[in-house]
Amino acid sequence: MPDLVLQIAAGWATLLLFGGGILLLRARDTLHRVLALDVLVAIVIMLLTTLSYLRDVSYYIDAALALALLALTSTLVATRYVTRGGPF
């Protein structure tokens, strides 16, 4: 893919990151915050993937994989914390 398209896509994903930050700041509740962080991680995955296409290296996507794993674990633990008052 041409570099210009990838640069525009990376810039767009960065703007989306700011939108996710606004979403996180506007959250009034623990679950809203958990949901906003989930969406933020999805946006960071998109940004890392675009960066990987731009620089033509693969290890940014591996970082995205690790981030997705951490996001799943933290979301499950946080929702359990909201429901039962503790992680276990």
């Binding site: 893919m1 606004i22 979403l23 679950l31 949901l35 693969s58 929702t79």
Partner: protein, 99 residues
């Protein structure tokens, strides 16, 4: 040439879906309604951006992207379901404070 156009279209479509989902999440106050645009961002938007890896032509990137694709397909519904379940089951006073 065709590869370039297809990859650019997939990338733009994924980022457009993410933008629409983020706008919806900023507009909607209720958590149950917010889960719908959140599912749009964490599911199809990420998948479309990852599918654009096919058109980069690099084997390493395609393999890593396929791994992330499978992982996202499994975990995105799981986390959305966990959040919805927690919103339904949480204690009454915190639900009143949220609305």
């Amino acid at each position: 040439m065709i590869f370039d156009i297809a990859g650019a279209v997939l990338l733009a479509l994924g980022l457009l879906l993410a933008t629409i989902g983020l706008y919806g999440m900023l507009r909607i106050p209720d958590i149950f309604h917010q889960l719908h645009p959140a599912g749009l961002v964490t599911g199809p938007a990420v998948i479309l951006v990852l599918l654009a890896a096919v058109f980069t032509g690099s084997a390493e990137i395609i393999t890593s992207a396929a791994l992330v694709l499978v992982f996202v397909l499994i975990t995105s519904p799981l986390s959305t379901h966990a959040i919805a379940q927690a919103a339904r089951r949480r204690p009454r006073q915190s639900r009143d404070r949220s609305s």
